[in-house]
Symmetry: C2
Amino acid sequence: MTITIAVFERPLDQGAGLARDMRVRWALEEVGQPYEVRLVPWEKFKEDAHLARNPFGQIPTYEEGDLVLFESGAIVLHIAQRFPGLLPTDADARARAIMWLFAALNTVEPPIVDRDVVEYFEDGRSWQNERFAMVDERIRGRLNQLSASMGDSEWLDGAFSAADIIMVHVLRRLEGTDILQEYPNLTAYVARATARPAYKRAFAAQLAVFTGRDL
Amino acid sequence: MTITIAVFERPLDQGAGLARDMRVRWALEEVGQPYEVRLVPWEKFKEDAHLARNPFGQIPTYEEGDLVLFESGAIVLHIAQRFPGLLPTDADARARAIMWLFAALNTVEPPIVDRDVVEYFEDGRSWQNERFAMVDERIRGRLNQLSASMGDSEWLDGAFSAADIIMVHVLRRLEGTDILQEYPNLTAYVARATARPAYKRAFAAQLAVFTGRDL
């Protein structure tokens, strides 16, 4: 059954792979599933055709037959439950991998997204620098805990899983800052993940949307 | 196998049921599973015994035999996948219910939590009122979309599911404001959910921790 994902026609990050469709592309590459792409123009994101697929007007969406999903975390989990390769088969290990996927989205990502809120939506406000300091302290609090928990482990919990896709993509959002470099084990973790062939294929595919070149 | 959850010994909300253990208690009540509670004193949250169960020093945790989980979203999903009653059996409907659980946690909750950040951590700052206005606009944006999507539906997507537990708990966090009252269908949705016997049992159980009374 054909899988189709919706992505921005003109990615705001100029193909840096920070938009959330990157998570879905990467997951599909890891499990070896081909997919098609629907390019949604920026001005159409809040219109009915897209809202019918995602009431919150976000990307990506995922379509497979009659099933239409939004929320990148839900889509990556769906792919991981539908196709082998991204979740352990042992029940307890599987539950822990899913737990780490939630931890990436709900505990590590929020202060990192908040940093972008400060950068873009509070630009020029008198308090911007004070807010940056407060948000960066929250980010470091989470990274301290994550770094201590991971130690020298290769991946979050045993074998590479869907949780690593989300966590690495969340951490990559700090690339424009110096924060991640304070954590050598997390920097190495991101480097290890982004060296995977599936990551590279996904990255090239989303970059091609920006450059307009065929792969 | 005995299920044990860790909760605050002295809930900060004085038993209003806003701490995230409420989500897990409610889910366990819905599926009819008894559980035990480990009370963790406030000063022990960042110490090793608790960090061994949750590296981010949060509540709740969930223990079932050798399995130890953190992240309320992951725990509620685990309960829903382990015991019948909180997810549809049809594969597509099940994927959509899980999608809504992610939407509650990753799209609706973040600005609502941010409101608490402004209220407690930016109290007394010169910019607090301006930030309240910005955050409330983001909250209303999400509630507008959620309200439009739900219409007069009883639950988020078909039958009551794990997603409704999370979404209703997220929306309840707005109780100290007037915002939710602007959305009659969402107010009715919360009232419908909190009238469920399983919700009432869970609420009474967490309140009893605060009052110190046996149920």
